[in-house]
C-alpha cells in the first residue's frame, strides 16, 4: 500500500502541465516588457477588488481593523464610514505605493504583463515573493522566479496551503492570462450594500459600526436603513447636505 507525504518542492511528480490549458491572451502571456514600462492592468485591479469586496463600515478580523477595500487607514477607520468611490481611491493609493516598491525589489528586469500582474498581486498580498505556503509547508520560489521557471512558480502557488484560492487564481493569471470574470464595481457595491443591510439587521454591529453603516447606506442610496431614529435621520441629512 503506497503512502506518500506532502512535499515542499516542485518536481516532475507534482509539476502542473499548463500547456494542457487554454491560454486566454497569448500576447500578455508571452510578450516580455521592461519592468519599468509595466503597470498593473485593469484586470488585476478588478481581480483584487472583487476578492476583497468593499465594506463601508470598519470591521476587525484576526486583530486587524479595516474599512472599505480592507484599508487600514486610521482616519478612514475612525471616520463616518467610507463610501465605495472613496474606498476605491484609498485602495488604489495603497496599490500604487506597493507597486512602486515591488518594481524596486523584484529581481528580474523584464516580465510579461500576466507575470507582472500575478507577481504584483502576490507581493501586495504577502509582501514577499521569496516563498508561498504555510509555516508547515513553504515553497521557496525566488530561485524559480530568477530562473524564469514560471510553471514551477505557478505550481507552487497552486499547491500553497495559505490563502490557497487566491494563490491558485494568481497561478492562472501567471501562466494563462486567465483573470476570471470581470466584476463591475457597481455590482460589487450593490452586493456589499445587501450584506450591509443584513449585518445591520442581525444585531452583529457595534454602535460605532452601525453609525458608519447608516451613513454609508444613506450616502450611497439616498435611503435610510430601517429602524433608524428620526434624530439620526435628521443628522445624516444634515451631514450630507
Amino acid at each position: 500500500m503506497p503512502v506518500t507525504n506532502l512535499q515542499s518542492t516542485i518536481d516532475a511528480k507534482n509539476l502542473i502541465d499548463y500547456s494542457l490549458f487554454t491560454n486566454m491572451d497569448a500576447t500578455t502571456t508571452n510578450t516580455l516588457v521592461n519592468l519599468s514600462d509595466l503597470e498593473a492592468s485593469d484586470k488585476i485591479i478588478n481581480f483584487k477588488l472583487r476578492l476583497i469586496n468593499w465594506k463601508g463600515y470598519k470591521s476587525t478580523r484576526d486583530g486587524v481593523t479595516t474599512i472599505g477595500y480592507k484599508s487600514t487607514n486610521v482616519d478612514a477607520i475612525a471616520g463616518t464610514g467610507l463610501i465605495e468611490s472613496a474606498a476605491y481611491t484609498l485602495y488604489i493609493e495603497m496599490f500604487k505605493d506597493k507597486e512602486r516598491i515591488f518594481k524596486k525589489v523584484f529581481p528580474l528586469s523584464t516580465l510579461t504583463q500576466s507575470q507582472y500582474d500575478a507577481m504584483l498581486s502576490l507581493y501586495i498580498a504577502t509582501s514577499t515573493f521569496s516563498y508561498v505556503g504555510t509555516e508547515d509547508r513553504k515553497f521557496y520560489i525566488l530561485d524559480d522566479i530568477k530562473d524564469r521557471k514560471w510553471d514551477h512558480v505557478a505550481t507552487a502557488l497552486t499547491l500553497s496551503g495559505l490563502d490557497r484560492t487566491t494563490r491558485q487564481l494568481e497561478a492562472k493569471i501567471l501562466m494563462l492570462s486567465d483573470y476570471g470574470s470581470y466584476k463591475d464595481r457597481a455590482l460589487i457595491k450593490e452586493q456589499s450594500l445587501q450584506h450591509l443591510i443584513k449585518d445591520y439587521k442581525t444585531n452583529q454591529l457595534t454602535d460605532e459600526q452601525k453609525t458608519q453603516a447608516e451613513y454609508v447606506y444613506y450616502a450611497e442610496t439616498n435611503r435610510f436603513l430601517t429602524n433608524m431614529t428620526e434624530s439620526k435621520k435628521r443628522l445624516l441629512v444634515k451631514q450630507l447636505s
Partner: protein, 402 residues
C-alpha cells in the same frame, strides 16, 4: 484484574501492603477524591487525586482511568513483524477528556491492587448548567439581564438566581451567523438544569464542542439532536419544528431541509456542482433562474442545446443587441407568418453583422479531469487541489512511553 492491567504495560507497581497483611489492600472500597493533576506521562488518562479519607500523609495517589467501554485486541495475538497492520493490536472504545483539577471524582480500590481506579465524576452543586448542550439562558449583557449564550454561573454571584455571564465567543458566532434571535438553530435549550429528571443526554468538551440528544422540554420544544463545534459549525436534527439544518462556522453557507419537503441552500461564496453523469432538474412548478452578473450556458457535446415548449411560446427580450451567429447554416422555419419589423432591414447589405460573443471558458488548473469550463470552479474526485481548508501539519501521537 490486576494481571490484565499489568500485561497491558501499565505499571501497577506494588501489591497493596497498607494493612500489613501480604497482598491484601485493607483500604479497598469506594472513595471520593479531588483531582490534583490530570496530565499523564503514559497517555492512558491516569489521574492524580487526593483522598481525604487516607489521612494527611501520602494523600496524593495516581489512579487509573476507567472508561464506559473500550479495549484492545489480545496482546498475545500480535505477531513479530512490527511493520504489519495485521500483526499488531487494535484499540477501540470511548475516550473522554479527564476531569479538571479540583473536580470531585469517585475512586474505587480493589482488595488486591494498590492503584485506585477513577470510575466517574461527581456533579458539584450548581456547576452543571453548561452540561448537556451548552444551553443559552439569562445572561448579563449591556448592564441588564437578557437571553444569550451562557457560561456557568459565577459561584460568587448572589444576585439574580438564574443570570449567568455571557458566553461572548458563542454569542459573537451566533451574531455572525444571523442566529442570535433563533432559539432552535442558534441558541441551544438543552441543559442539564432545564428540568429534573433531565430529558437531556449530552457530551460537551472542555472547550465547547457539543453533542446533544434532547428528548425535549415539557412543552415539546427542543426535541433534537445537535452536533456543534466550539466555533459554530453545526448539524441539527430537530423533531420539534421538523427540519434538518447544517451550517458553517460563519453562517456563510447553510442547508436546511424541512418537513414540508422544502430544501433551502444558501452560499455566500458560490455553489459548485460537478457530476460525471447527468445533472437532472425536474420541477413540477417553474424553473426560475436569475443572475446579477450574467448567465453562461455552453454545450460541448454533439447534442447541442435544444429548447422546446409544448404549450406556451418562447419569448426572448434583450435590453441591448441580439446577436446570433452560426458556423454553418441558419434555418428559420415557421408554420404561420414570419413578421420582421425594424427601422431598417439589411439583407446582405454593406454593414456586416456583429459576431456573437461566446461564453468565456475558465481554466481549471487545480483539476486533473475537467481542464476548462464556463464554470468558475469544478470540484473533482479527491485529491482535489481546489479545496481551501488544508492542514499541512502531519498528525503526531505517542507510541511507546517510558
Amino acid at each position: 484484574m490486576a494481571g490484565i492491567i499489568k500485561s497491558d504495560g501499565v505499571r501497577v507497581s506494588n501489591r497493596a501492603k497498607q494493612g500489613g497483611t501480604e497482598n491484601i489492600n485493607t483500604l479497598h472500597g469506594i472513595y471520593i477524591a479531588e483531582v490534583i493533576t490530570n496530565a499523564d506521562s503514559l497517555y492512558t488518562g491516569r489521574i492524580t487525586v487526593r483522598i481525604a479519607d487516607f489521612g494527611s500523609k501520602n494523600t496524593e495517589t495516581i489512579c487509573l482511568l476507567a472508561v464506559p467501554f473500550g479495549g484492545h485486541t489480545k496482546i498475545s495475538d500480535s505477531g513479530k513483524d512490527v511493520t504489519l497492520d495485521s500483526e499488531t493490536t487494535v484499540s477501540y472504545g470511548m475516550w473522554p477528556q479527564p476531569p479538571e483539577v479540583g473536580t470531585n471524582v469517585v475512586v474505587a480500590f480493589t482488595s488486591t491492587v494498590e492503584q485506585g481506579i477513577v470510575i466517574g465524576s461527581l456533579i458539584a452543586k450548581d456547576r452543571n448548567a453548561m452540561m448537556g448542550g451548552r444551553s443559552s439562558g439569562n445572561v448579563y449583557a449591556n448592564g441588564e439581564v437578557s437571553t444569550g449564550a451562557a457560561m456557568e454561573k459565577n459561584p460568587h454571584d448572589n444576585s439574580d438566581p438564574d443570570a449567568k455571564p455571557l458566553d461572548t465567543h458563542l454569542q459573537s458566532i451566533l451574531n455572525q451567523q444571523g442566529l442570535s434571535l433563533d432559539y432552535v438553530r442558534g441558541h441551544s435549550q438543552s441543559s442539564a438544569r432545564r428540568e429534573s429528571p433531565s430529558k437531556v443526554f449530552g457530551i460537551t468538551t472542555r472547550d465547547g464542542h457539543v453533542f446533544t440528544l434532547d428528548d425535549g422540554d415539557e412543552t415539546g420544544a427542543s426535541k433534537n439532536i445537535r452536533l456543534r463545534t466550539k466555533d459554530g459549525a453545526q448539524i441539527l436534527l430537530d423533531d420539534s419544528k421538523g427540519f434538518i439544518f447544517v451550517t458553517t462556522q460563519s453562517g456563510d453557507a447553510w442547508i436546511e431541509m424541512n418537513n414540508e419537503g422544502k430544501v433551502d441552500i444558501y452560499s455566500k461564496g458560490g455553489v459548485n456542482v460537478h457530476t460525471e453523469g447527468d445533472y437532472n432538474v425536474h420541477a413540477k412548478g417553474s424553473i426560475n433562474m436569475q443572475a446579477e452578473q450574467g448567465v453562461n450556458i455552453k454545450s460541448t457535446g454533439g447534442d447541442g442545446i435544444k429548447m422546446e415548449t409544448t404549450v406556451g411560446g418562447i419569448d426572448v427580450y434583450s435590453a441591448l443587441d441580439i446577436k446570433m451567429e452560426s458556423a454553418a447554416n441558419y434555418h428559420l422555419l415557421v408554420a404561420g407568418n414570419q413578421i420582421i419589423k425594424g427601422t431598417r432591414i439589411d439583407f446582405n447589405g454593406s454593414m456586416a453583422p456583429d459576431s456573437a460573443t461566446k461564453p468565456t471558458v475558465q481554466n481549471q488548473t487545480v483539476n486533473d479531469n475537467v481542464l476548462t469550463s464556463v464554470a468558475s470552479r469544478v470540484p473533482e474526485h479527491h485529491p482535489w487541489l481546489g479545496v481551501n481548508g488544508v492542514e499541512e501539519k502531519p498528525p503526531v501521537n505517542k507510541g511507546r512511553t517510558a
